[in-house]
């Protein structure tokens, strides 16, 4: 906070003011060519910064295209019902045939091994009874 001051507290001696201003003016003084060149440069920059009618039209077209793209993107996915999958009809005979082929190709599963053994033992028993029959016939 600045206490109340007289106006002279905010001023410099007039001769110093004049000297400072004069010096500043001299330092910033430039030739007419400098100012003309600066004006030309500024004009060129202003013209290039100003959008022409063509560029405005181009900008409008680009904006419209972008809006359409965005609308399409927003419209596409989620709220639509998913398309139903086509139902594949399976022929039961064909399926059975395929199952059999797979089983044959895989060989006898281990779980069925006792069945195989019992098949073998019944085969042996038949052979034994045949031998007995031959022996009785011979006697």
């Amino acid at each position: 906070m600045i206490p109340d001051k007289s106006s002279s507290d905010f001023e410099l001696p007039p001769d110093l003011c004049g000297a400072l201003r004069g010096d500043a003016l001299r330092r910033s003084d430039r030739s007419n060519e400098f100012w003309a060149r600066q004006q030309t440069t500024i004009r060129a920059r202003l013209i290039s910064a100003e959008p022409t009618k063509q560029s405005r039209l181009r900008l409008a077209l680009v904006a419209a295209g972008a809006a359409i793209c965005v609308a399409l993107l927003l419209d596409t996915p989620s709220d639509r019902q998913p398309a139903p999958r086509p139902v594949v009809q399976v022929d039961p005979d064909q399926a059975l045939l395929q199952t059999i082929e797979r089983s044959l190709a895989a060989g006898t599963p281990r779980a069925l091994a006792p069945v195989a053994l019992s098949n073998d033992s019944s085969h042996d028993a038949n052979e034994f009874s045949n031998l007995n029959k031959e022996y009785r016939d011979a006697n």
């Binding site: 410099l12 110093l16 201003r21 010096d23 330092r27 910033s28 500024i42 004009r43 920059r45 202003l46």
Partner: protein
Amino acid sequence: MSMSLPVLVARPHEGSSEITVFDFEQIVRQHQKRVFRVLLLILKSPEDADNLTQECFLRAYTSRQQFRGECSVQTWLLRIAVNLARDHIRNRRAGFWKRLLRIEDEAHASVSELPSGQPSPERGLIARQKLDAVWRVVDELSARQKEVFLLRFVEEMDLKEIADVLNLRTGTVKAQLFRAVARVREQVAR
């Protein structure tokens, strides 16, 4: 029909969108020296002052529709210029020492440009040295004090105008000016 900015200031409801590049050139011619001078005194670099003067008018032109005529065109332009200078000072770090050397060179070169009407070379030299000492003090002021000081004593603006340009309250401008003047007086009294 196109109109110039001062006309639009007088009749702000007629639509500032009508102003053209050619209208704006009148504003450029009218204010370019002052804008350049303020930027040169703040930045101490003729190249930077030139570039930012161009930038200032470009910004003013592209944002001309925001100008409502609440202040003068000069105040509006200087506000843009001071803001550009502040941004520039904030951003320039790399070339600091190079610029400093150039300022020193210019300060020495300006010694030969004595004000006319001096009674003798000796007195002129003393005055020149005194003036250079004052400029050095001004350079050492804070950025805000320096802006206030330059607008007051070089551009001869009143406190209200300075407050408008720097976007400060008049009381703040007064306080900054008081401190700046005290520093300069201290130097002059030595």
